[in-house]
């Protein structure tokens, strides 16, 4: 169930996060993200500009894909649990692409009463090519 509370005690190394599929990416979403984030780089809005820059056309903000990846974490672990999230942008996300965010648990430790869970994360397009790789640490409640 989405937004169900996850307890540290119930998490095991190797557990998979529920995949989250976003898109297909539409220009209007990139325009909306530009407005909401303040990143108005024309390379995400103006196809001619992006072609002249040698990028072959517009592509999505990396930070939008990172937003998807972070959502895949908080859909599972809950809002406000993320202590650290870091990504590398491995490939461009184009218009009409879908982005599927995946992840798995790679570590679980108790520290100062909190349960810290380390995650390996990645996102793939519809061809299975990785567009984002990353990792995160979430703090989960413990049952005591």
């Amino acid at each position: 169930m989405k937004y169900a509370k996850v307890y540290f005690d119930d998490v095991k190394v190797g557990d998979a996060l529920p995949p989250l599929t976003k898109g297909p990416i539409q220009q209007i979403q990139l325009t909306r993200y530009a407005g909401a984030s303040g990143d108005f780089n024309p390379i995400h809005q103006d196809d001619e500009f992006a072609k002249a820059a040698g990028m072959g056309g517009v592509f999505a903000h990396g930070m939008l894909s990172m937003g998807f990846v972070a959502q895949s974490v908080t859909d599972w672990a809950g809002a406000g649990t993320v202590r650290k999230v870091g990504v590398r942008f491995a490939g461009l996300v184009r218009l009409k692409d879908t982005v599927t965010c995946k992840g798995r648990v790679v570590g679980a430790t108790r520290k100062d009463g909190a349960g810290l869970v380390d995650l390996e994360l990645w996102a793939e397009n519809q061809r299975g090519e990785k567009v984002v790789t990353g990792k995160a640490t979430v703090a989960l409640p413990t049952r005591g």
């Binding site: 937004y3 780089n41 930070m63 959502q71 809002a79 406000g80 999230v85 942008f89």
Partner: protein, 150 residues
């Protein structure tokens, strides 16, 4: 003719800038991602939560920027926006942030280096931003790597 990148900018510190988180902007950011988590969007859910209000999605601090800073930095580096790609991004967060909070952001360039990738020579500019609240407590550290196609 490849661009010559200004490596002397390593260590540069930017003037601190102040941001105040606006409720509407925070929610618009969550909606733009399509992340409809009620802890980001529903004030009643926020008030009943341990934080007493809605909170920002994990990547929201990407909106923390000083006016005109990106353009000025690119000019100083000797490039422009059409050559820039986002390489890496990291947020280390010590607590969630809420609407109405005011933060001070202090950025510096931690590294400038060049590498040749499969698409040709590129420069990497690593930036780190420390975010502190009004009590002077550290709230987050943001790390950002910009890639410049040379």
């Amino acid at each position: 003719m490849p661009t010559e990148i200004n490596k002397a900018l390593k260590g540069k510190e930017f003037p601190p800038f102040v941001v105040t988180v606006e409720r509407g902007q925070m929610k618009a950011f969550a909606r733009a991602i399509g992340d409809l988590n009620p802890n980001y969007l529903d004030d009643a859910v926020g008030q009943a939560s341990e934080w007493g209000d809605v909170i920002a999605p994990p990547t929201f601090m990407t909106t923390f920027r000083a006016d005109g800073e990106t353009g000025a930095l690119l000019r100083e580096l000797g490039t422009d926006i059409s050559r820039v790609l986002h390489g890496e991004q990291e947020f280390e967060m010590y607590r969630p942030i809420r609407p109405g909070e005011t933060f001070t952001c202090r950025s510096r360039i931690t590294d400038v280096y060049e590498k040749t990738g499969r698409t040709g020579p590129m420069a990497f500019v690593a930036r780190e931003t420390a975010v502190t609240d009004r009590a002077g407590e550290i709230v987050a550290v943001i790390r950002h790597i910009t890639v410049i196609r040379l």
